[in-house]
Amino acid sequence: MNLTLHVWRQAGPELSGKMVVYKANDISPDMSFLEMLDVVNERLTDNGEVPIAFDHDCREGICGMCGLMINGVAHGPMNGTATCQLHMRSFKDGDTIYIEPWRARAFPVIKDLTVDRSALDRIIQAGGFISAPTGGAQDANAILVPKESVDNAMDAAACIGCGACVAACPNASASLFTAAKVSHLGLLPQGQPERYRRALAMVEQMDLEKFGSCTLHGECQEACPKEISIDTITRMNHDYIRARLIGTRP
């Protein structure tokens, strides 16, 4: 297939960027989206130009490193699919495709399609863990955990930290990401002692990082490659409010 790409090019963090048009001819429908970009980059290099920078690593939808706005949709047109798992068969010969980085105040552009998502790590630092130093654990079967709790926890724990929820949100809120972690840990008995402190600290960090606030648009859930449910946000809000009510300190 032959395609026309409009790609965001920005040489560095402080520089201004613009959309640049590239022809991508002879693309196989069995290629992944990133393999298509590889081909474009090989051709750019052969012409002495600088290839397009984009983040990626595992290319199997699990590391969360990839992430592109494709025709204005985070991770592109296929539901429940990260950019690296999107295949060109989702497009038609002759299509024009707009490719941009995640756009959010908390995610500054590093170069071209690459952004800085370290704010998400700092939200985890604030409380996205269970304090269980190595060595002191009791037998793994000592606490029974209902299958349903663990299944629900796993649904939330599937988050890959890609940041698509932020990019898709009109307010650039990181609520779905944060709520996924609050829910994962809060649904397990091991996560109870720190449950309210965790919710409070993570939500406060989210605000400090200049993410917007959540007005329950639901765009995040649509964009999420792991189909994390917006119900997790209700759970997080509940834990957060309770933390405030009972006077928990972060």
Binding site: E49, P133, A137, L188, Q190
Partner: protein, 639 residues
């Protein structure tokens, strides 16, 4: 031989070695721990767990990864599960059985003492992970669930859907972030280690490149831990991530660390087959699928019918036929070779003929579609996304692909390399899997190394060596920094006509053709010539655009491929010298009457530890003999 290979295996009975050693090791008092900086390169299971735990103990830790966050290390991609000798199923499992299965699975080319310790620690790992909130699968009664993996007849694999590696890594990552917040760990993401600094024979630091700004920087410490993962990407196509590389361990090798068994590579039997030239990676379909999927090809060569139209009596369930007692759960090396064999006979399926079926029709009939969906839903979806075929309706097509490297830097029982102070953990070392790794045992090793072994043995190293004070202003750092900068600039100055990827692809093809699933003397010799020619072409014809003071992914890749071009050669040299077959290393010249790997224990029951002898010189072979005091060496049989 110039290197002394002292494996430092503690004396005493197998089951007491680790306990005894823990008692005998030197301790560092809490107030002094803070004064010691430990450099951990890698944030996967092996590195992340180590960095977090050593910080908990009070050490000052610096941790590095090339991704934008430590949570993205390739451990995240492990699907199937992690072994532990919990015997929760009461099916006859024990520490000794896990030890025995692992030693046998590795075709008797690993150290008894290390493997026993691994089996022993496996139970602590599960406890630790559950305490951290890892959502392992559970039964309705609330107890932990298990599944079976290849090479074992008990059910001892713990799992979190098809995302076990992700959940284990998030556990370690969260512990790590907690320590970062506390100030015990300083994290350096998007930073690549490009060289090791050795002062007075001791590893005292690393030189890195900031991948965003291009800045070349030095980091000094009292000890260095490399946890940089495997080097399967030397084959270009593999199940590894795009960035997975050998640079850290290769640079260490060139500074004096011995490289053990480089040719021991695992080819995983169940991956999605290659579909075209442009392909950038191969996707694994977890071994757990072989719990319920049946592997087959048509009996007739060239049978192009729709698989569903081929009647039962015209199918060859070749694993069940050849290995009746393990059936579809035969170990990986054996299952891969069996698949290659039927494809070589012209019975392979799919457009390329390089594929075999993995069929769930019987399991769906027996258990229902929902049960299969519950077990493997996300894998089935992944398969469909990539191939556009629905595995609930038609059998999957699979083919072997490079997956794991058992070889790596040589380490002693304390996980220390032949350079004092340089420790190596996880897939980057060679320690526990011999010539073939059993499924669900790499996660176990990474976490055993990271949570339980290195935090102890590092104390012994620090407690028993008087280290002079060294910081990054030491001249040795300046000179390594200069070497690193010059090398980086050299890639940009060649201005040839070929991209890095084109060289990498060509190297991968050489490795796959001559140093892949089967190997022979003539092929390996030819490969050595081809690699040497390709390396010359690389240094004359490489084209990297852009500069070295910005994010430049092609430049990063150039450094990695340059190292692969050297490592590939060492792998072929090792494969050529080991004229026996063992595990994943199958020399066509050495097979049993029915085509299985034929070991030569008399001549090859050793670890081959290669030592760098200078540019342009052949590496020196050092041998660590393997002594088996507890198990009897047998011809491995899964029939």
């Amino acid at each position: 031989m110039s290197i002394q290979l002292d494996s430092r295996i503690p004396s005493g009975p197998l089951a007491q070695k680790w306990d005894r050693h823990r008692f005998e090791m030197k301790l560092v008092n809490p107030a002094n721990k803070r004064k010691n900086t430990i450099i951990v390169v890698g944030s996967g299971l092996a590195g992340g767990a180590a960095a977090a735990t050593m910080s908990e103990l009070g050490y000052n830790v610096k941790c590095f990864c090339f991704q934008d966050s430590p949570r993205r290390a390739h451990s995240i991609a492990a699907q199937g599960g992690i072994n532990a000798a919990k015997n929760y199923q009461n099916d006859g499992d024990s520490v000794y059985r896990l030890f025995y299965d692992t030693i046998k699975g590795g075709d008797f080319r690993s150290r008894e003492a290390n493997v026993y310790r691994l089996a022993e620690l496996s139970v602590n790992i599960i406890d630790q992970c559950v305490a951290q909130g890892v959502p392992f699968a559970r039964e309705y009664g609330g107890l932990l669930a298990n599944r079976s993996f290849g090479g074992a007849q008990v059910s001892r694999t713990f799992y979190a859907r098809g995302q076990t590696g992700q959940q284990l890594l998030l556990g370690a990552y969260q512990a790590l972030e907690r320590q970062i917040a506390r100030g015990g760990v300083k994290m350096f993401p998007r930073t690549e280690m490009l060289d090791l600094v050795v002062i007075d024979g001791k590893a005292r630091g690393i030189v890195t490149r900031n991948l965003v700004t291009g800045a070349v920087e030095s980091h000094a410490g009292e000890a260095v831990v490399l946890a940089t993962g495997g080097y399967g990407n030397v084959f270009y196509l593999s199940t590894n991530a795009q960035g997975s590389n050998a640079t850290a361990i290769w640079r260490a090798y060139k500074r004096g660390a011995a490289f053990a068994n480089p040719c021991f590579t695992q080819i995983h039997p169940t991956c999605i087959p290659v579909s075209g030239e442009y392909q950038s990676k191969l996707t694994l379909m977890s071994e757990s699928l072989r719990n319920d999927g049946r592997v087959w090809v048509p009996k007739k060569a060239g049978d192009k019918r729709d698989p569903r139209q081929i009647p039962e009596n015209e199918r060859d369930y070749f694993l069940e036929r050849k290995y009746p007692s393990f059936g579809n759960l035969a170990p990986r090396d054996i299952a891969s070779r069996a698949a290659k064999e039927v494809c070589d006979e012209g019975r392979g399926v799919g457009e390329t003929g390089l594929g075999v079926y993995l069929d769930f029709a019987d399991a769906i009939k027996r258990l229902g579609r929902d049960a299969i969906k519950e077990r493997y839903g996300n894998l089935f979806e992944m398969y469909e996304r990539i191939t556009n075929e629905n595995p609930y309706e038609a059998p999957m097509r699979i083919y072997p692909a490079v997956h794991y490297t058992m070889g790596g830097l040589w380490v002693d029982y304390n996980l220390m390399s032949t350079i004092d102070g340089l420790h190596v953990t996880g897939e980057a070392n060679f320690s526990d899997h011999g010539a073939n790794r059993l499924g669900a045992s790499a996660l176990m090793q990474g976490l055993a190394d990271g949570y339980f072994i290195i935090p102890n043995t590092i104390g012994d190293y620090l407690g028993s060596h008087k280290l002079q004070k060294v910081d990054a202003s030491h001249d040795a750092f300046r000179s390594v920094e200069n070497e690193v900068s010059e090398r980086t600039k050299r890639f940009l100055s060649i201005r040839g006509t070929r991209t890095v990827a084109s060289f990498h692809r060509e190297l991968g093809k050489i490795m796959w053709d001559y140093c892949g699933m089967t190997r022979n003397e003539a092929g390996l010799k030819l490969a050595l010539e081809k690699i040497s020619a390709l390396r010359t072409a690389f240094w004359h014809g490489l084209n990297v655009t852009g500069s070295d003071v910005e994010l430049n992914q092609a430049l990063e890749k150039a450094g990695r491929v340059a190292d692969f071009l050297e490592l590939g050669e060492l792998m072929c040299i090792d494969a050529l010298h080991r004229s026996e077959s063992c595990g994943g290393h199958f020399r066509e010249e050495s097979q049993t009457a029915d085509g299985e790997a034929l070991r030569d224990d008399e001549n090859f029951a050793y670890v081959a530890a290669w030592e760098f002898a200078g540019e342009g010189h052949s590496p020196t072979l050092n041998k660590e003999p393997l002594a088996f005091e507890n198990v009897k060496l047998t011809q491995r049989s899964y029939e």
